[in-house]
Symmetry: C2
Subunit: 147 residues, 2 copies
């Protein structure tokens, strides 16, 4: 189990990869972000994107799944108060292979709650061509190691 | 159709409401954010959250759906480069009734692309008790009205 004390600045977690199918892109967007360039391959081709692209929220959600499988599931996660500077830097297209990285940049014990601390991170997802498609400045709360 | 020129600072869009069921919360999180307080009602009860709560990404995605239905579907949306300061301020629990508001705070024509402009917004979602559960500083690109 990873506790706050283990999540030291500079530590890097390589999170592995995920690859969304066209069907998954359309399914997510139909439910949560039904804009034609996310849900309709023909309309997407006619748009300035030139083809179907994933909802940015789908991209964030795929990153989160990589982060849970690659780190959070083994950590004393206590949730998150939010994220800063979510950036969708390049389109995510069907069958792209997206690889996640999580780098810890700051770790501060909570002043009000001695059982936890706040971890700040740089989150990144790149595609199979090495193009960064997503960056986020993450904030997460993690339990401190029991005495 | 709403164009960039129609999206003037101060304009408010009331986006209506959405209410996630426990099954929907578990389904989303099982796929994208499988932490026990999002996927397992019993484990969630034993956690510091005291019961099942929605993934923050699910909350963002539900907001996006309200935004598309309430504004974006009728606008010349050209996608988004990202969001600033996503804040999950209070837990979202099963059957909460979440109401969205979108307020335009800034509108700047693109310098490099004369066919579009950038809209900055304050996004908010409140629950049935008037508690704000989500705020975001949004960034969106919208097409300019054809000459």
């Amino acid at each position: 189990m990873l506790y706050f004390e283990d999540l030291t600045p500079g530590r890097v977690f390589e999170l592995g990869s995920v690859s969304p199918t066209a069907d998954e892109i359309v399914e997510f967007a139909t439910r949560f972000d039904p804009q034609p360039f996310h849900t309709d391959p023909q309309a997407a081709r006619a748009s300035h994107f030139g083809g179907l692209i994933a909802s940015g929220w789908h991209t964030c959600a795929m990153f989160m799944r990589l982060l849970v499988d690659g780190m959070v599931a083994d950590a004393a996660s206590m949730g998150s108060p939010g994220m800063d500077e979510v950036r969708w830097l390049a389109p995510v297209r069907p069958d792209d292979v997206l690889t996640g990285t999580f780098v810890i940049v700051d770790a501060v014990p909570s002043r009000s709650k001695p059982d936890r601390g706040v971890i700040r991170s740089e989150c990144r997802m790149t595609n199979q061509d090495g193009v960064t498609v997503l960056t986020m400045k993450g904030i997460g709360m993690y339990g401190r190691r029991p005495a």
